[in-house]
Chain length 405, copies 2
């Protein structure tokens, strides 16, 4: 029941990146659940990870390996998160890297492991042993769509985005895939996202580009407020075919960064559109705060309110619940008589109370569609910020009550 999310768009190959998948047996038989992303020698990666104290073993290992050198292989399994698994989990993640390194002919530290799925189950190594040869044999430049499907867990649709934009004298490709549907409230990066470009990008510029893109995309979404233990977003630059972006400012950097941001935004929105049980895609856009953080604080408080989320599910313009959520948001000295709320352009609240000309029918009509723009004006400053979220339905409860059974 994904909201406004269709089939995958065309995902342009990125010279220097090849992807392969295999049915390794982490999930149900017949399901591609192992993905390998191979980066040509000379590629460079930047990555951001979950800030959850219980980060998963692969996150710890990937962070360590990124400090040592540039990755040649990203190995991703779906069906088991290798999180909450203690020292054995670290060992399993390292062993997975070793297996890929042996077959791929590189150092173990040049493999990054990623896992997604159930937390707390030991990560089996058999599927890596069985599946890696097939995944490596399957490596190809047009493997993005299969990889997008291979990393899915409770996702109902694969998620990908791709752009070609001019940078300097040349055309650059930026292509990315992501997975995620529940336990979505990133603070660093969400679930798993892999984005690549054929530009050659200097380390500082690559890092800054990723941080800017993530701040404007994955760090603006929430499905259920639950931050994952496995969140990771990787940006790879292969330098094959694209121009060199050497500075972390200037027109070339901005052009590349704009494209990466756009791809990340599409992927982040796709995660919310495919949020567990989602029937509405909601933009919470908060204006008039004293700082952007204040605006985001209000937006997240509204977006996490179970009462607001169930009202959206019901298509009920229950603005009282929105007011109540704003009233408990982290804003010091809020003057409620300045607060205004519009819902898909319909003026609902003025001066902290129901607008004089508001009619319930107009609010209900504005709520009827699947795309909702909730605009909140705090009337106390000149800053604005926004996030994307979805509603809370029976289906969310069903999915998460039945997840392991």
């Amino acid at each position: 029941m994904a909201v406004g999310l269709g089939a995958l768009p065309r995902l342009h190959p990125v010279p220097g990146v090849r992807l392969g998948t295999a049915q390794a047996g982490f999930k149900a038989p017949g399901r591609r659940d192992l993905v390998v992303m191979a980066l040509d020698e000379g590629s460079r990666c930047a990555a951001v990870f979950t800030s959850n104290a219980f980060c998963a073993a692969p996150v710890t290992v990937a962070r360590d390996h990124l400090r040592v050198g540039q990755p040649r292989f990203l190995v991703i399994n779906a069906g088991n998160a290798n999180a909450g698994t203690g020292p054995q989990g670290i060992e399993a993640a390292l062993r997975c890297c070793e297996l890929a390194a042996e077959q791929g002919g590189c150092d173990r530290a040049r493999v990054l492991p990623f896992s997604t799925g159930v937390i707390g189950e030991p990560l089996p190594l058999g599927p890596f042993r069985d599946g890696l040869p097939a995944a490596l044999a399957d490596l190809r430049e047009d493997g993005w769509a299969d990889a997008a499907a291979g990393i899915m867990t409770t996702d109902t649709l694969p998620k990908g985005a791709s752009l070609q934009v001019p940078v300097g004298e040349r055309t650059v490709t930026v292509t990315g895939i992501a997975k995620g549907s529940g336990m979505i409230r990133p603070d660093m990066a969400t679930m798993l996202a892999f984005v690549a470009t054929d530009c050659e990008v200097a380390p500082a510029a690559l890092r800054r580009c990723l941080e800017r893109a993530v701040a404007a995309s994955f760090n603006r979404i929430t499905v259920d407020g639950d931050m994952s233990t496995n969140d990771a977003c990787v940006l790879a630059a292969t330098g094959r075919g694209g121009p060199a972006v050497t500075a972390d400012e200037g027109p070339d950097f901005e052009a590349l960064c704009g494209a990466v941001t756009e791809v990340c935004r599409t992927l982040a929105q796709a995660i919310v559109r495919d949020g567990e049980g989602a029937t509405k895609f909601i933009t919470v856009d908060v204006h008039g705060g004293r700082t952007p953080e204040e605006c985001r604080g209000v937006a997240y408080t509204v977006a996490h309110s179970p009462l607001v989320k169930t009202a959206f599910f019901a298509g009920d313009p229950n603005w009282g619940r929105i007011l109540a959520a704003i009233g408990r948001a982290p804003v010091v000295g809020l003057d409620v008589s300045c607060v205004e709320i519009d819902l898909n352009g319909v003026c609902i609240v003025r001066a902290g109370a129901r607008a004089d000309d508001y009619r319930e029918e107009r609010g209900a009509a504005a709520m009827a569609g699947p795309e909702i723009e909730l605009c909140i004006r705090l009337g106390r400053g000149r800053y604005r910020d926004y996030i994307w979220t979805c509603d809370l339905s029976y289906e969310y409860v069903r999915i998460n009550a039945e997840y392991r059974s």
Copy 2:
């Protein structure tokens, strides 16, 4: 589907307190929805209210009136919260006080108004005009049970508690009623609770007694993390029949305070047991923090996690979700390898990972009953704190998706 909550216990009358109810027409016809609580001259009240910036009009008026003098009448209506109603809401709350004052023969400022129900609808005055004479005519010392029923909204059962304890040479009665089921995450006091004693209590002692009782009861519960605009808890001391408690310390104060706290705890737990859609009553008990606040921060993060709540609903000991919630709680520098989790006495997590001897069957068995004790040890300090919460079921979504329709 309230969890472990039966019929009202015997509610001992409190000399000096009379209660009356009426079918005023705020809610469906035939439903008692207007309650008047009359306090004899010489009674003294303390009260705490919501810290929501969008506090309801009656909260503003009740706060103002408490500054002026001691209340004679508390007027409570169910079905309309008079919240988000702007200046007209204040006027309506004052008018309600006026109507009661005229008929009760006192100053308007000696009436406290309380409202609960739908937010954002104008509070009609007709039902007060029609219902107040009947409610005042109905005033009686044994009116507690009817009053407990009269203040209900989405509650499925009335909530009351009553104790008689020795204070000094005499026996003191403490009786209270409360309502609340959704939008429950008090920061001051929850929804509506009215507690009375026949002690004579000095102002400072009364205030301190209420604050201590609320800290140990209503400020430890959460159903859905949504803080109400109307929360209020009033403690009245009539001085009729009970001894005088003049100091805010010493054995008499402690005896009274213990009884008030116990009544408030029973009422607070009753609210969670009757939480919207609740099928489990869960104590989240956090040990080994560096401060009590740290322990509460972990407890609330776990209690608000939709993934943890749906797992409890499913009876699924999905400890990975509990770990993930602990990992994003506001604890600086948490060493996850020290974390331990027990569930109804079954050891589940040791050293931040699944305990060696844990078996899924034992976890499932521990989750099967309606009462869950979730014990989390952080292993970094000597403080402990705990809260009470419930699970998240289909029924919660249904109730809140259909509330206004």
